[in-house]
Amino acid sequence: MGKDVFMLGGKEFSSRFILGSGKYNVELIQAAVEQAGAQIITLAVRRANSGGEGNILDYIPKGVTLLPNTSGARNAQEAVRIARLSRELGCGDFVKIEIMRDSKYLLPDNAETVKATDILAKEGFVALPYMYPDLNTARDLVNAGAAAVMPLAAPIGSNKGLATKEFIQILIDEIELPIIVDAGIGRPSQACEVMEMGAAAVMANTAIATAGDIPQMASAFKKAIEAGREAYLSGLGRVREKGGEASSPLTGFLRD
């Protein structure tokens, strides 16, 4: 098997596990990143912006690609402003576009996300929009210049798993960009399943942050994601169907 490279925003990655950095003590980030084997880590720009004590940027290991997100943005304009700020802070050109105008479920606003993606892609950002898995929106995001599409598996932070499985599969089948499943994945087995389906990568945060042993759960996710990827690449075997028919009721009429 050749080298399996995950290309994103012109960079090469060997890990397909994007780790979130929220919801747990910043002191644990280093260990979690190491155990996860993660090469990309997300952070909320609104946290990086605080400065002084507890600045999350100080705790992220060197050599890891930062994926700042625009959480807190309620519309496209706010997301664009946060992204620009992130670039000024030295967080690079990668940006995960998160726009929510619902504080209860934190579901992404697809229409505003398309607008922000369009603006940010034109400004040279590696735009990675987080979205509700809708095929039409995904196509709009492709046309807007997204570098990948990040559909949610379930409401963010819910750990409910692949609630949107059928719709994610549609995006995997129809969209040429990498599909990074983001939000809702609660267990390593779910991360494995979505990789088997052909997702390019998995992003997880709460599942790890709320585990009993954070570094150990990070390690479990790493293995699950790798297993799912290998299964996908090797081609899943067939499922034998019940019964069999010896006769040819549908082709018996053929003459030659």
Partner: protein, 410 residues
């Protein structure tokens, strides 16, 4: 008669007036076709392809391969499930109307070609009205307007007028005419037609060159991009086909499927469908073996063309395999079964793979109405002469539902 290749125009170069569009689909399809090695697949890959819910390009390749032949019954079973899932019990009916058989092309396998001395005719507006009225009386609500490929004798305005007449009698109007520019497609869409069928004949560009010796049709890429231009012109749907038997039919079927696949991915709102024509004997040919001079004129004779052209006859089993492979690869696509096939074949493939069937067909000009005097000769021989009532009866016999139309032109 353009028998010397050096005297023929470059078939890959656009002629004046031909619109060029930006598209990478031709390279993708032709590249994949040339790489496709049908003999390299095994039963294991066919079994895997059959077990998948969504089938990949590789699955499609396996299903079209000789390794899939022993699995034909299983393919048909799966195809039937997919057809039922997407189309239910419905089988759509239509009929083609040939309004002109003038042609400026020299396609050596076609009865309409410009060197073939057949009786040429084109319907005037009054005749067209009579013909369409006669067809509509049979209960059909969908019509497919066909012409020979002559811009001079059947220009875009003439075709547009035919579409307008057709709209008076039919709820759905499709066209199968020479490829044109997107603004011309837009014009015909306004006139009432919104489905465009273009057969690429073969996706082997070299073979194509040797079969289409003269005329606009000779330009391979212009024909290839017709569906895309039609969609840019606002057409609702497009149909694809290779004329099976002209070249390696597995490769051509593979390319046809990919052509539709890439178009649908680029234009997700487009409706797509397949036709599955096998090359049939044609009327009265001259020098079909390609010697140019020695060929004898045959009076109204029906002559075989596949073997003399160096092609290979496609068997019913092979045709069935292709149709099932199309269905399994693109389960949502429409599929038309031609009257080139015998009734017994057509009746069994509807509901399994095909979704649309023609009835009351004549490939000649002016043959539907008794009020139209004189007739133009046929393009090819048909194998199923049944009228609309007979075909709807056969559909019901299969437990299926004949549907005349399920579409509103907007």
């Amino acid at each position: 008669m353009q028998t010397d290749r050096r005297e023929r125009v470059n078939h890959m170069e656009y002629m004046e007036g031909m619109e060029q569009i930006e598209s990478d689909i031709l390279d993708k399809v032709i590249g994949a076709r040339s790489r496709y090695q049908a003999d390299s697949y095994s039963g294991q890959e066919v079994r895997a392809a059959l077990s998948h819910d969504n089938r990949s390009i590789e699955d499609f390749a396996a299903l079209l391969s000789p390794a899939a032949e022993p699995f034909l019954e299983e393919m048909a079973k799966k195809a039937k499930q997919e057809t039922e899932k997407h189309f239910g019990n419905s089988v759509y009916l239509f009929t083609p109307i040939y309004i002109s058989n003038y042609c400026e092309n020299y396609c050596i396998y076609c009865g309409f070609n410009c060197h073939n001395r057949i009786h040429r005719m084109k319907l005037n507006m009054e005749e067209m009205e009579k013909e369409m009225k006669a067809i509509a009386q049979s209960g059909l609500e969908e019509i497919l307007i066909l012409t020979g490929e002559s811009r001079e004798k059947s220009d875009v305005t003439y075709i547009g007028e035919a579409c307008k007449v057709a709209r008076k009698y039919f709820r759905m109007v499709g066209i199968e005419v020479y490829p044109m520019n997107s603004n011309e497609y837009a014009y015909l869409q306004k006139c009432g037609a919104d489905y465009v069928t273009v057969f690429q004949e073969t996706y082997d560009a070299d073979r194509y060159e040797g079969l289409h010796l003269a005329g606009h049709k000779r330009i391979f890429p212009y024909r290839f991009h017709a569906q895309e231009r039609a969609l840019k012109g606002g057409m609702r749907g497009v149909a694809f086909a290779a004329l099976l038997g002209l070249a390696d039919f597995r490769k051509d079927a593979f390319a046809t499927g990919l052509h539709a696949y890439y178009i649908q991915r680029k234009y997700p709102y487009a409706e797509i469908s397949f036709s599955c024509p096998r090359l049939r004997p044609i009327m009265e040919m001259e020098g079909i073996a390609g010697d140019g001079h020695g060929g004898q004129m045959k009076e109204k004779a029906v002559v075989p063309v596949v073997e003399p052209l160096g092609g290979k006859e496609v068997s019913e089993r092979e045709l069935m395999q292709i149709m099932c492979a199309y269905r399994l690869f693109l389960p949502f696509a429409g599929m038309t079964i031609s009257t080139r096939e015998r009734a017994g074949f057509r009746d069994h493939v509807i509901g399994v793979a095909a979704t649309k069937i023609s009835a009351g067909v004549s490939t000649g000009i002016g043959s539907h109405s008794e009020e139209v005097e004189g007739q133009g000769d046929n393009q090819f021989e048909i194998a199923d002469n049944r009228d609309v009532d007979e075909v709807t009866g056969a559909i019901r016999e299969q437990g299926l539902q004949p549907v005349m139309n399920d579409y509103v032109y907007v």
